[in-house]
């Protein structure tokens, strides 16, 4: 029983990283209409920034985390401006934006490999949170606590932003129809930039916590996140922050329990099996509505 409870907690901690990434990825998909293959590299670059600041510059972990998140956000704005804006302006569909995002992915991945020299490192243990403590009779690592806090902050924050504020209303309006939004007095260019920033920043946060939890930072860090985050978005029902969070946590728990009770090699099978099953039999996901499917079709 204790083992089960402990593994569920571990699963939630793992899933919270997927969930945070998925929220950012889903924001870009639902609002900007881009299935962004390069999103994982935003996470990688966030983690690499923190790695550089903590290990080489000697900055504390928390200021480095803030700067890493900012770097990922700004990177997403630049990428959106260079690679996605020209296609959106033409009224393009999902396909050309997917192809340019593949180009960006190749570029940023190769650049990450060049700066790291394809080596694997980790945040300096003196600076980064480490160790563990007792939590209701279970063991909770401080790094796990960071990712659980991250999903709480991002999930609640972004959901509130989207549904309780004017900026959020503008973002949803632009996601639904940019032309109607601009007729309603929304500046779509600004809203797109804000959305891209948030989506990249959240991906950066996911990458940083991923590096913290696995104690490994390398140029491939974001690739696993991209696939798992994609699964979280689809399973949760995209266009819905709550759904993505639940989807991510579900995947995390399912993976850890599969590894514990069935076989470690079947972890990915469970996640991607769920992904395909949802796509084929319930494309709207757990929480999505038919209406949210319309936005991407446009």
């Amino acid at each position: 029983m204790d083992v089960l409870a402990q593994q569920i907690l571990n699963g939630l901690a793992l899933g919270s990283v997927y969930a945070v990434f998925g929220v950012g990825f889903g924001l870009m998909l639902a609002t900007l209409g881009v299935l962004n293959a390069a999103h994982g590299t935003f996470a990688t670059w966030g983690a690499l920034t923190v790695l550089y600041l903590v290990n080489d510059v000697g900055l504390g972990f928390w200021p480095a985390l803030v700067l890493g998140v900012l770097v990922s956000g700004v990177m997403a704005v630049i990428v959106d401006f260079v690679a996605f804006q020209p296609i959106r302006r033409r009224g393009g569909d999902l396909l050309p934006a997917l192809i340019t995002s593949i180009g960006v992915w190749i570029f940023l991945l190769a650049a990450a490999r060049m700066v790291t020299g394809a080596t694997t490192s980790r945040y300096s243990p003196d600076a980064a949170p480490s160790g563990s403590f007792d939590f209701l009779g279970l063991t909770l690592g401080r790094t796990q606590l960071v990712s659980l806090l991250a999903v709480a902050v991002v999930g609640v924050g972004l959901h509130t932003l989207l549904h309780r504020t004017r900026v959020g209303a503008a973002m949803r309006a632009v996601g639904h129809s940019p032309m109607a939004a601009s007729l309603g007095g929304v500046n779509p260019v600004l809203v797109v930039a804000v959305t891209a920033f948030l989506s990249g920043a959240v991906a950066g946060l996911a990458g940083i916590t991923m590096g913290l939890n696995t104690s490994t930072v390398n140029f491939m860090l974001g690739e696993a996140l991209l696939l798992k985050g994609f699964a979280a978005v689809i399973i949760g029902g995209f266009g819905d922050v709550r759904g993505t969070v639940v989807g991510g946590l579900l995947i995390g728990v399912a993976e850890v329990l599969t590894a514990q009770y069935v076989s470690g090699s079947l972890r990915d099978a469970v996640t991607f099996g769920l992904l395909l099953a949802f796509l084929v039999f319930r494309p709207r996901g757990l929480f999505g509505s038919a209406a949210s499917m319309q936005t991407v079709r446009a």
Binding site: A83, I87, I99, V104, V174
Partner: protein, 295 residues
């Protein structure tokens, strides 16, 4: 000239193998199905070729026939499951399929070698690969103006109108998807023979991205598009690498973005004037001008 061939022979071979994959994706795209599942069918072809080679010593002809047949069969089975999905979900489902392919390859150890992978005796040469590409192109060129070709084009442009004209969009798409499986299966056999080693990451997301990028880069409105796209996408970085080291991938990425931004319909576009004069036959109608939308 001899020196040129020695230096670039393998580049041409890999470009042609990728051209086969891109042609496979293009055949599905012909009927409006955006699919990355070519990597899955490639894995089916590649690993069956490796198995035939290792356990039966089968020659290339047997390998190609089996790869084509299995690719066709698997694609036909999957088309029942996937083609009912709305287009973007279909595209994402093919991504999911590629992700699952790796899991299957890893767990079916006695057939695929699991995480270690498996070796293949090389039994193809450049002539065979080029001949295969030429064969596919010949078939596509003949089909372009055929009843099926017109139907596929109509389904891609507007499935509802095509249905009203008596074309069954589902059948047309299913045939295109199965045919794309056949070509991708053949491409998998070729790639396995060229690489002489295949593992779980050979037929994974990078290959899936490469084939669709090559297809869109070259142009999705003519069968020559994917071939040109594969040559540019695979060949150019290799040529660059022999002069400047380390920047080839950065260049590939940047090039892909630039071409998509400035030539959204790809390098080969039958709508362009230069092609019209040459072909002197009716081409696709201009779609209604899109309103300028700033998102």
């Amino acid at each position: 000239m001899g020196g040129f061939w020695d230096q670039y022979r393998s580049v041409v071979e890999f470009a042609m193998a990728n051209a086969l994959f891109a042609l496979g994706s293009w055949i599905a795209m012909w009927a409006g199905v955006f699919s990355m599942a070519g990597a899955t069918f490639g894995a089916v072809g590649g690993f069956s070729a490796a198995y035939l080679d290792l356990h039966m010593g089968a020659g290339i002809v047997v390998q190609l026939l089996v790869g084509a047949g299995l690719g066709l069969g698997v694609a036909a089975l999957l088309s029942v499951l996937l083609l009912k999905l709305e287009s973007h979900w279909m595209a994402m489902a093919t991504v999911a399929l590629v992700l699952i392919t790796r899991v299957v390859v890893l767990s079916a150890e006695e057939y695929t070698g699991g995480s270690v992978g498996t070796g293949v005796t090389r039994r193809v040469d450049l002539v065979t690969v080029i001949a295969l590409v030429a064969l596919v192109c010949y078939a596509l060129a003949r089909l372009r103006r055929s009843r099926y070709g017109m139907a596929a084009h109509a389904v891609r442009e507007d499935a509802a109108v095509a249905a009203a004209l008596g074309v069954n969009p589902f059948t047309v798409r299913a045939v295109a998807f199965a045919a794309s499986g056949l070509v991708a299966g053949v491409a998998g056999v070729v790639l396995a023979n060229l690489l002489q080693y295949i593992g779980p990451d050979t037929f994974f997301i990078t290959l899936a991205f490469t084939m669709v990028a090559a297809m869109v880069l070259g142009g999705t409105y003519h069968w020559a598009g994917p071939i040109v796209g594969a040559i540019v996408f695979v060949g150019l970085p290799e040529v660059v690498r022999s002069y400047v080291d380390g920047v080839d991938e950065l260049m590939t990425g940047a090039l892909l973005v630039l071409i998509m931004v400035f030539m959204p319909r790809g390098l080969i576009d039958p709508r362009r004037q230069w092609f019209r004069r040459r072909a002197s036959q009716p081409v696709a109608q201009e779609p209604a001008p899109q309103p300028e939308v700033v998102r």
